[in-house]
C-alpha cells in the first residue's frame, strides 16, 4: 500500500479501503513467471485426463455429425410438429455463453472495472469457443452443409433475382454471429499481443521462438506502440459493446418474429440478453474455479473475483426470473386464448418438469447469492454455476420445444423425444468447447499479464 493510501485511511477517511484484486502484491517478474508457467512447463496429469475425456467427446461429435450428414436429420427425434429441438436449443445456449466474455472484456473495460483484468482473457477465449460451438448447430441442423452457402449474400450472384431474404431473422443471425465472432477474435488476439511478446522474449529459441515472434507481430513495447495499442483497445471495446446487447437480441428474433404462442413476444430481446449474460457468467465461474485450482492461479483469480461474478449472476438471474413472471402475466392480461393455453400448458403439460427445473435453477437457486457467505463459498459457487447452465439450457428447450409441440390446430400436436444422436451431439459440443479451452490454457497466456501488472499493486 502506498504512502498516499496509508495517509488517507489513517486520517479516518470514511471510504472503504480500495479492493486489492491480486493477493500478496507479487513482483512484476513473479507475475510473468506465474502466468507463463503452464505454457513453459510440461502439462500435468490432470490436464491430460481432462483433454482425453474432452477429446473422446470430440471424436464422438465428429462421428455422429458424419453419420448425420450421410443419413439426414431424421436420426434426431424431430418430427413435423417439433421442427427444432436440441439443435436450436444448443445453438442459443452456446451463443448465450459467449456473452459474458464480451461483457467482461468490453463493457467492463469502458466502465474501468479493475476486477476484469484477471478474468478477461479466459472469458474472451470462452466467448470465441462458445461461438464456434454455436455456429456448428445452424450448419448441421440443415443436414446438408454443402448447401449452407445459400444463406450468405455472395458475389457474383449467379442466381439472378434469387438471393437471400433480408426479412428472415435467420439471415440477421448470419450477420450478427459472423460480426460477433470477427470482433471477438480480433479483440482477443489484439489483447494478447503484449503477452505474446513477453513469451517471445522469454522463449529460449527453436520453433517456439519462431512461432511467437510471428504471432507477436513485432511488438516492441515502445511508448508509441503502447499509446496506439490503448487507443485501438478502446475503439474495439466500443465496437464490441453494442454487440453484447445486439447479438442475443437478434437471436431472440428467431422466435419473436414468428407467430407461435410462446415465441411471439416483444419481451424476448432484453430477456434473452439477461439470460445470455447469466449463463455466460455461470460458465466463466465453472471454468475459472476449475482452472485456478488446477493451474494454481489462486493468487490472481481470487475469491473477490468470484464474488464479483456471483453478484452479476444474481442480478441477471433475477432479471430472468422477472421476465418469466412477465410472460405469465401478459398471457393472462393479454387475453389471447392461444397464448394463455400455451402458458398453462408450459406449467402443467407434458414438459412441465422442464419448466420447473428451469425455474428452480434460474430463479430460486441464484437467490442464495444475496448472502456473502454463499458468494465466497467456492464449492457452493461451483455447484451453483453448473446449475445455472443446466437451467439456461432448459430455458431454451422450454421456449423451443414446448412452444412447438402444441399448435393452433390439435392435429399439429406432437411430442419430441431425444434420440442417442441428439444427446451425443450435445455432449460432443461440450467436448469441443472443453478441448479448445484446455488447449488454450496450455498454449496461450490465460491471464492478461500486462493488465494484471497494472492492478497488482493497488491504484
Amino acid at each position: 500500500m502506498s504512502d498516499l493510501d496509508l495517509h488517507r485511511h489513517d486520517a479516518g477517511d470514511p471510504l472503504l479501503p480500495p479492493t486489492r484484486w491480486i493477493d500478496g502484491a507479487p513482483s512484476l517478474h513473479k507475475i510473468t513467471t506465474d502466468i507463463s508457467r503452464p505454457m513453459e512447463a510440461r502439462p500435468g496429469r490432470g490436464w491430460w485426463i481432462c483433454l482425453g475425456i474432452a477429446g473422446l467427446a470430440v471424436v464422438n461429435l465428429l462421428a455422429m455429425v458424419g453419420y448425420l450428414f450421410a443419413k439426414g436429420i431424421g436420426i434426431w427425434g424431430l418430427n413435423n410438429a417439433v421442427g427444432w429441438a436440441f439443435d436450436i436449443t444448443n445453438f442459443v445456449f452456446w451463443i448465450g455463453i459467449g456473452h459474458a466474455g464480451t461483457l467482461i472484456s468490453a463493457i467492463l473495460l469502458l466502465f474501468r472495472q479493475k476486477w476484469r483484468t484477471s478474468i478477461n482473457r479466459s472469458a474472451e477465449a470462452m466467448t470465441i469457443f462458445a461461438v464456434m460451438c454455436a455456429g456448428l448447430f445452424p450448419l448441421i441442423h440443415m443436414g446438408r452443409p454443402w448447401d449452407a452457402f445459400f444463406i450468405f449474400p455472395y458475389f457474383p450472384n449467379q442466381r439472378g433475382p434469387l438471393w437471400i431474404n433480408f426479412r428472415s431473422p435467420l439471415v440477421w443471425d448470419v450477420f450478427a454471429i459472423s460480426t460477433y465472432f470477427t470482433i471477438s477474435l480480433v479483440f482477443w488476439y489484439l489483447g494478447m499481443l503484449p503477452d505474446l511478446a513477453t513469451l517471445r522474449d522469454r522463449a529460449l529459441g527453436g520453433i517456439r521462438k519462431l512461432v511467437l515472434r510471428f504471432a507477436a507481430f513485432g511488438w516492441n513495447g515502445s511508448q508509441r506502440t503502447w499509446s496506439r495499442y490503448e487507443m485501438v483497445s478502446l475503439i474495439l471495446a466500443a465496437l464490441a459493446t453494442p454487440l453484447v446487447l445486439s447479438v442475443h437480441s437478434i437471436v431472440s428474433t428467431d422466435f419473436a418474429t414468428s407467430l407461435i404462442p410462446g415465441w411471439h413476444t416483444t419481451i424476448f430481446p432484453p430477456y434473452f440478453v439477461a439470460g445470455a449474460i447469466y449463463s455466460g457468467f455461470g460458465m466463466v465461474l465453472t471454468l475459472l474455479i476449475i482452472t485456478r485450482q488446477t493451474m494454481h492461479l489462486e493468487r490472481y483469480i481470487t475469491i473477490r473475483h468470484l464474488e464479483a461474478m456471483a453478484k452479476v449472476t444474481l442480478l441477471t438471474g433475477s432479471l430472468v426470473g422477472y421476465a418469466y413472471a412477465t410472460e405469465f402475466f401478459n398471457a393472462w392480461y393479454g387475453g389471447n386464448l392461444y397464448e394463455r393455453y400455451h402458458f398453462i400448458n408450459r406449467a402443467t403439460g407434458p414438459y412441465a418438469w422442464c419448466f420447473y427445473l428451469m425455474v428452480l435453477c434460474n430463479v430460486l437457486v441464484p437467490q442464495a447469492l444475496w448472502w456473502k457467505r454463499a458468494r465466497t463459498n467456492i464449492a457452493l459457487l461451483f455447484v451453483l454455476s453448473i446449475l445455472v447452465n443446466v437451467g439456461m439450457w432448459f430455458e431454451r428447450f422450454v421456449i423451443i420445444v414446448v412452444s412447438l409441440h402444441r399448435a393452433f390446430l390439435p392435429s399439429g400436436w406432437g411430442m419430441f423425444y431425444p434420440t442417442v444422436f441428439d444427446i451425443g451431439i450435445l455432449v460432443g459440443s461440450f467436448g469441443l468447447f472443453f478441448t479448445l479451452f484446455l488447449l488454450f490454457i496450455r498454449f496461450l497466456p490465460m491471464i492478461a499479464m500486462w493488465e494484471v501488472k497494472g492492478v497488482a499493486h493497488g491504484d
Binding site: 443419413k71 439426414g72 436429420i73 431424421g74 424431430l78 413435423n80 410438429a81 421442427g83 427444432w84 445452424p138 441442423h141 440443415m142 443436414g143 446438408r144 448447401d147 449452407a148 445459400f150 444463406i151 434469387l162 438471393w163 437471400i164 431474404n165 426479412r167 428472415s168 431473422p169 435467420l170 439471415v171 448470419v174 428467431d254 418474429t257 414468428s258 407467430l259 407461435i260 412447438l404 399448435a407 393452433f408 390446430l409 390439435p410 392435429s411 399439429g412
Partner: protein
C-alpha cells in the same frame, strides 16, 4: 408425405359425440408466415397466388414449418427414394411405377407441401393454349378434387368472380381457418348446415 391431412374433431361430449372431419392442406396464404422467415426465399407466392416451394432452393432450416399455423408443411427427414431402410413405394423400381411422373422427386433436407397440383394447372394452361382459347373454369382439377367422390373439393380462379369457387366462397357459409391470425388464406371452407335429429 401426406400433403392433405384429414383433421378429426369431436362435436359433443361422451357417447353423444359426433366425429366431424376437415381436410387440411396448405392454405396458400396471401400473407404467409412461412414466406417471411425463409432465409433463402425458397417459398414465395407466385403471380397466380400459389404459395410455391422451390425444392432446389430449400436448405432445410424448417423455420417455415415451425411458423405455419396450420402445420401442413412436411420435411424430408431422410432420403426416401431408392433407400432400402424404408418400406415405401419409392424404395423399389416396381413400386416407383405408382408415383406421379409429373412431380419432381424431393431429396432429403427439403421441405414440401401441397402445391395445388401446379403441374395440372400448367397442363390445363398448355391445353387451352393449344386449342387457342382462354383457360376456362373447370379446365383444371386438382388430384384431391378429382378423387373426392362427393365433389367436396372445388378448384378454380378466385380472381374470376364468375368461377364456381368464387361464388361458393362469396356465400354466407364460407370461412377461412384461423382467419383471426391475419394469414389471409386462399383456401376457404364451407360450413356444413344439416338438419340434426332431435334427441328424445
Amino acid at each position: 408425405m401426406h400433403w392433405l391431412r384429414i383433421d378429426r374433431y369431436y362435436d359433443g361430449d361422451g357417447a353423444a359425440a359426433r366425429s366431424v372431419h376437415q381436410p387440411m392442406m396448405c392454405q396458400h396464404c396471401n400473407h404467409a408466415p412461412c414466406e417471411t422467415v425463409c432465409p433463402v426465399l425458397a417459398t414465395t407466392t407466385s403471380s397466380e397466388g400459389i404459395n410455391q416451394q422451390v425444392y432446389n432452393r430449400c436448405i432445410g432450416t424448417r423455420y417455415c414449418a415451425n411458423n405455419c399455423p396450420y402445420k401442413v408443411r412436411r420435411f424430408n427427414w431422410h432420403n426416401y427414394t431408392a433407400n432400402s431402410d424404408f418400406d415405401f413405394n419409392m424404395a423399389s423400381p416396381l413400386g416407383r411405377l405408382v408415383l406421379n411422373p409429373d412431380v419432381t422427386v424431393r431429396s432429403r433436407g427439403v421441405m414440401e407441401k401441397c402445391n395445388l397440383c401446379v403441374q395440372r394447372i400448367q397442363l390445363g394452361k398448355n391445353q387451352a393454349t393449344l386449342s387457342r382459347r382462354p383457360i376456362a373454369d373447370g379446365d383444371v382439377a386438382t388430384a384431391c378434387q378429382q378423387s373426392c367422390p362427393t365433389g367436396a373439393i372445388v378448384f378454380g380462379d378466385l380472381k374470376d368472380p364468375n368461377s364456381r369457387v368464387s361464388k361458393l366462397l362469396a356465400g354466407r357459409r364460407a370461412y377461412h381457418v384461423l382467419e383471426e391470425l391475419g394469414t389471409r388464406p386462399s383456401v376457404g371452407y364451407l360450413k356444413k348446415v344439416a338438419p340434426q335429429e332431435e334427441e328424445t
